[in-house]
């Protein structure tokens, strides 16, 4: 019985965090908010060199074939450093789907992901939320329609798309008939895109992929929860550090119980949520029948505590926390943008109830 991280996992986390602190400090993130797309190619290549992009890719294809818990730890570190990178789609959701679909085409893409040469966008929003008359139709080998809020798709080499709950399609980012428009969002560290398809010919279509799509979404939800957890962790660290140096009324504000209790409440929410996340990620690989429920609960719960923690951590900073200069808003906005990316908390909870036959 050992419910905890291994030496290797702790080392992975440490290596990644120190790399991100050195190579992608918050100043670099600030620069990237003015770029056309924040998903900088240089950062992606460096992550590939560290083995992060191929973490779920089989060893025979140049990856390290690790567990979803390892991938979640990477996602958590990226959230902690608010690093712009298409990790969630390219390194988690796409490999989970392609591993299940194993074939010569998918092998090539997986090899490219592990090498840091290929970046995938993911367009699956319509599986859980249809707005603005979005929806894509795949018939006679051509895609038509609209996908909203696609992940990391404005400068992607390929896009993995779900025209419906049972099929997956891969489209080239520069396919004729595809128009990708990045939509400005509050979160400067991620790319959200509108995709318009007019008679677009996919590179590949996978039929009967319903179970694969569910697995892909479960993995994505766990990794996204990890990203938010990491961002929360950083916000708490920043709030505690600030409370330990800022003085008002001739005292460190961290010595006031009102401030102290805000910090205690944040960490009291975070630590059990971390345990839930570990379990969900571990279940994904070892107890697949439990994973869908845990993925829904982990993301819904961490999204909820994320909203609270991001607000309270900002309040601990007082007025300065609300300024652009203090940078806290990068974390606040990353957490709030994650909240609806793979199903909002209320939707996820309804799914959790339905998975247990309570609906």
């Amino acid at each position: 019985m050992d419910f905890g991280l291994s030496e290797e996992q702790l080392l992975l986390e440490k290596t990644l965090r120190s790399f991100l602190a050195d190579e992608v400090p918050i100043g670099r993130v600030r620069e990237l908010r003015d770029a056309e797309c924040p998903n900088d190619v240089g950062i992606w290549r460096s992550l590939a060199e560290l083995g992060a992009t191929g973490i779920l890719v089989p060893e025979s294809l140049g990856g390290s074939d690790l567990s979803l818990l390892d991938a979640a730890l990477v996602a958590q570190s990226l959230g902690h450093a608010v690093t712009p990178a298409p990790f969630l789609g390219s390194a988690v959701m796409v490999p989970i789907a392609f591993r299940a679909l194993a074939g010569s085409e998918t092998d090539g893409w997986l090899r490219g992901i592990a090498a840091g040469e290929i970046r995938f966008g993911v367009a699956a929003t319509e599986l859980f939320s249809i707005r603005e008359e979005a929806g894509t139709v795949l018939s006679d080998g051509k895609l038509n329609g609209k996908a909203m809020m696609a992940m990391d798709s404005c400068a992607a080499d390929f896009i993995l798309l779900t025209p419906d709950a049972g099929r997956l399609a891969v489209v080239r980012g520069d396919a004729p008939g595809l128009e990708a428009t990045r939509l400005a969002t509050t979160d400067a560290t991620r790319c959200a895109t509108e995709l318009l398809f007019a008679e677009v010919a996919p590179e590949a279509v996978f039929e009967g992929a319903e179970a694969v799509i569910e697995r892909m979404l479960d993995a994505g939800r766990i990794a996204l929860a990890a990203d938010t957890l990491g961002a929360c962790e950083s916000m708490i660290e920043q709030a505690v550090a600030y409370a330990g140096q800022r003085k008002q009324f001739d005292r460190l504000i961290g010595s006031f119980q009102a401030v102290k209790h805000m910090c205690a409440e944040m960490i009291a929410e975070l630590e059990p949520a971390r345990s839930l996340l570990w379990y969900a990620a571990h279940a994904f690989d070892t107890m697949p029948e439990e994973a869908p429920l845990l993925a829904c609960h982990a993301l819904a719960h961490i999204s909820e505590i994320g909203r609270e923690i991001s607000s309270v951590a900002t309040q601990v900073h007082g007025g300065i926390g609300w300024t652009d200069e203090q940078n806290l808003h990068f974390w606040f906005k990353r957490i709030s943008a994650a909240r609806h990316m793979l199903g909002g908390p209320a939707w996820l909870r309804e799914r959790a109830a339905s998975l247990q036959g309570l609906v």
């Binding site: 019985m1 050992d2 419910f3 905890g4 991280l5 291994s6 567990s67 818990l69 505690v240 409370a243 330990g244 005292r251 460190l252 961290g254 010595s255 006031f256 119980q257 401030v259 102290k260 209790h261 910090c263 205690a264 409440e265 960490i267 009291a268 929410e269 630590e271 059990p272 949520a273 971390r274 345990s275 839930l276 570990w278 379990y279 571990h282 070892t286 845990l294 609960h297 982990a298 819904a300 719960h301 909820e304 209320a346 909870r349 309804e350 959790a352 109830a353 309570l358 609906v359």
Partner: protein
């Protein structure tokens, strides 16, 4: 990550399960009532003989004498829970006094008290809190002054649960009035029947339901020999802190079980002809609670792993009591809402649901948010010891 217990432990689990199938009592035997106490003593003794209670206590003191093994404890708890019977006795003697005696008691104290306490022959109450000393326990004023070879105890204790059904008390008293407040306290063992002790029931908000009766205990020149001190004179504060550590360890809650019960209630309960589980609002609240219950369950596994590896859990280990108590209260709040206007029915009246379980659970969880260190004291501990925030400066003396 490896959540398997392995073959040796699975064999142990099977052994416990077989024991329970063969020996599980047909009706509950937890009552401390003198007429039926022998049933409790027999059941506890049987558990000790098989090693499912007092497992790691040396045989010389009436235990089973096994090596400590946390996973065996977890398995026993799981299997007894599964069978719906209490393992041993959830009382302050076994959970708090016995570990304290094993750590600090004299040979004579251990031989005399541990066996009878574990067998339920001697029931204990804890005398710590006082009307003027709650969160600031070290300011307690109940005094024990020397009189020859004895102490004479005078003062008042409050929140002494079960004192009305107890044979003995372990009490914190001030023996060194001149010393600093933490250094002047001793830990004494006192027979509840001693002349000069008066036990008055303290009615709580939970009223008639729930066996956990609280009391106030008044001491007027109560005579005990000086040999009743556990540890050394003036070391009571340190010793009490070991005991409190045992209390916090024993405050684990079975949130998952409560949640199942809540789900069952929601399936049965309907309003305006619609099952409450069909209400999206109630269902959403249930799912929010389920996520929290799962978090606490897996957090428990994480803390267990820390203990097994003898690693410090850090701040993660300090948040359990705070979060579990609030979760329990919130679960009963949903249950009461689900019952609507009938949620207030109590005292086994007509139409009452689950024999008043949810109201009693609500009152009791609120009590636990306060007892054993209030939520606010917990937050001070989390932020100061866990996060390293500065202590609040002491006000200048008035």
């Amino acid at each position: 990550m490896d959540l398997q217990y392995g073959p040796r432990y699975e064999a142990f689990r099977a052994e416990v399960r077989n024991f329970l199938e063969a020996h599980k009592p047909e009706k509950p035997v937890g009552s401390l009532n003198p007429e039926v106490r022998h049933e409790l003593v027999a059941w506890l003794s049987l558990q000790i003989d098989h090693g499912y209670w007092a497992r790691t206590i040396p045989e010389t003191y009436g235990g089973f004498g096994a090596e400590p093994d946390l996973l065996e404890t977890v398995i026993m708890d799981e299997e007894f829970n599964r069978a719906g019977v209490a393992r041993g006795m959830a009382a302050q003697g076994p959970s708090m006094l016995v570990p304290t005696l094993l750590e600090h008691g004299t040979e004579e104290q251990r031989s005399r008290w541990i066996g009878p306490t574990m067998r339920g022959e001697v029931i204990w109450a804890q005398g710590y809190s006082e009307p003027g000393s709650g969160s600031d326990l070290a300011s307690l004023t109940t005094s024990a002054r020397e009189d020859g070879d004895d102490f004479l105890i005078s003062g008042q204790k409050i929140w002494t649960s079960g004192a009305d059904k107890s044979d003995m008390m372990f009490v914190l008293v001030r023996t060194e009035p001149e010393a600093d407040k933490h250094a002047g306290i001793s830990y004494l063992l006192v027979p509840v029947g001693s002349p000069g002790i008066e036990v008055q029931p303290l009615r709580t908000m939970s009223g008639s339901i729930g066996e956990n009766s609280f009391n106030q205990v008044f001491f007027t020149d109560v005579r005990v020999p000086q040999s009743s001190v556990v540890g050394r004179r003036g070391e009571g504060w340190k010793i009490a802190n070991t005991t409190l550590k045992h209390e916090r360890n024993s405050l684990n809650s079975n949130a998952e079980g409560t949640l199942l019960r809540l789900t069952r209630l929601m399936r049965q309960e309907s309003a305006n002809g619609v099952c409450t589980l069909e209400s999206p609002l109630f269902r959403d609240r249930l799912m929010q609670l389920q996520a929290r219950a799962l978090s606490m369950k897996h957090h428990g596994m994480r803390m267990l792993t820390c203990s097994l590896k003898e690693e410090r859990a850090g701040v993660a280990g300090l948040v359990t009591k705070l979060q579990n108590c609030q979760l329990n209260f919130d679960m009963s709040s949903l249950a009461i809402d689900v019952m609507g206007e009938l949620g207030v029915l109590y005292d086994h009246t007509k139409y009452e649901r689950d024999r008043g379980y949810w109201q009693a659970h609500s009152f009791f969880s609120l009590g636990l948010i306060i007892g054993g260190g209030t939520a606010q004291i917990q937050k001070n501990i989390i932020s100061e010891r866990g996060l390293g925030l500065p202590r609040e400066p002491k006000p200048a003396p008035a």
